[in-house]
């Protein structure tokens, strides 16, 4: 019975792969739920603080904080958030592609790009492209903590204050729903003005205590919360993408097993038929 044994071992090996992908799918599903909760919890704060900072941009105070001052752009700092682990479909590739498109566009205008990379996959991808990397951080885990990544971000903020970069953008995957994640480029610094409908046409804030002290604290919180939001959102995306990728891998393994089973049955039947005809032929000869 040639071939039947090989087919049988092949089926067994696909079955064990299927078990692994199935387990990964279930792990990702449960992690996704928690990651989504964290993302939802962080969202209101990130949105509100972005609005407040956007409102401040509309005013003309005596004190101009560097984070709010628009300068001619020579170099752009780009925070790219990727994952630490693979097997999550096209999530990383889509994010990096979006980052590359943005970078190429800057370069065509004669603007240099400096990178700040989150996650080992981002490091692996951009290392090959030989783009200047200011800072990188790996191993943030499923529950990213602000203290863990603020060091890497601080490098970019210092560069911004020193005038080494004139704009800071963040690229990460945005969670739309479980099936789709959209890469997004968002400008962090200088802050983008936000005009809310209920605001008066022209206004100035009263600052308590002083504008300097207050803006320092507020703007730091702003950057912190935006980057945090980006990372938790990316974790939720990673889990969702992995779950979907592993589900389709499990399904494909199932299909493959069905097909091989059919071939195996046919081979087995053919060999039985052959044996019978041999016996019958032998009996007739006698």
């Amino acid at each position: 019975m040639p071939g039947a044994k090989e087919i049988r071992t092949k089926i067994a090996s696909i079955k064990s792969t299927q078990k692994i992908t199935k387990a990964m799918q279930m792990v990702a599903a449960s992690k996704m739920r928690k990651a989504q909760e964290r993302m939802r919890a962080a969202r209101p704060y990130a949105e509100k603080i972005r609005n407040v900072i956007g409102h401040i941009c509309l005013t003309n105070p005596d004190h101009r904080h560097p984070y709010l001052t628009v300068r001619p752009v020579k170099t752009v700092g780009m925070i790219v958030i990727g994952t630490d682990r693979g097997l999550c479909g096209g999530l990383n590739v889509n994010t990096f592609k979006q980052a590359l498109i943005a970078a190429r566009e800057y370069e065509s205008q004669g603007i240099a790009v400096n990178l700040c990379l989150f996650g080992s996959k981002a490091g692996q991808f951009f290392k090959r492209l030989k783009m200047p990397i200011s800072s990188a951080i790996v191993g943030l885990g499923d529950r990213p903590h602000m203290a863990a990544f603020m060091g890497a971000v601080k490098v970019m903020l210092d560069d911004y204050v020193d005038g080494k970069i004139d704009r800071l953008v963040i690229v990460n995957a945005q969670f739309v729903n479980t099936m789709s994640q959209k890469p997004m480029v968002q400008q962090l610094l200088p802050a983008v003005p936000v005009r809310s409908p209920e605001l008066p046409e022209l206004f100035e804030y009263i600052y308590e205590p002083s504008a300097v002290e207050l803006l320092d604290g507020l703007l730091f919180r702003y950057v912190e919360s935006q980057v945090y939001q980006g990372t938790v959102e990316n974790v939720a995306c990673e889990m969702a993408a992995r779950m979907v990728a592993m589900k389709s891998a499990t399904d494909n393994a199932g299909k493959l097993i069905d097909e091989l089973q059919l071939i195996y049955n046919k081979a087995r039947q053919a060999s039985i038929t052959k044996e019978i005809s041999e016996i019958v032929g032998g009996a007739a000869a006698v």
Partner: protein
């Protein structure tokens, strides 16, 4: 209908309150301030303490914030709390434990940075305890 303000209290851990208020009291860096509708635009930092919200129905709600920032617009007030809790979620035993821990830290530490941290923690714990006492008096 009396004038009202749209109030949002958010913390990094989630949305705490979102709705309409008649009057809001917050622990600003330079003392408690009360905010009525059509207040002038103002930005300030917050100390640890309680944010009291008077609802249009006359009912009052209290939230604990551990510091943060505040934006006032004539029709909208946004509290960006570092940590915020509903008053009902406050637990006296954990507040007291936190106070004790902070006091111990202050006694043991000579390092300037950790001392400042411990003092901040102590202030937060004291604010929580003060608020709990006030709440209990209100109930009794």
């Amino acid at each position: 209908m009396a004038a009202t303000i749209n109030l949002d209290i958010v913390s990094a851990e989630g949305e705490i309150f979102s709705g309409v208020a008649a009057m809001v009291f917050v622990p600003a860096a330079q003392g408690e301030i009360g905010i009525a509708p059509r207040h002038a635009p103002l930005l300030t930092l917050l100390k640890a303490g309680e944010v009291r919200v008077q609802l249009p129905s006359g009912e009052e709600q209290a939230f604990y914030v551990g510091g943060g920032a505040l934006e006032i617009q004539p029709q909208r007030v946004t509290v960006l709390a570092d940590t915020a809790l509903r008053a009902h979620d406050l637990d006296e035993s954990t507040a007291l434990a936190a106070k004790q821990r902070a006091e111990e830290l202050i006694r043991d530490q000579t390092d300037a940075l950790t001392l400042a941290e411990a003092q901040a923690e102590l202030l937060r714990a004291l604010a929580q305890i003060k608020m709990l006492e006030r709440l209990r008096k209100g109930r009794a």
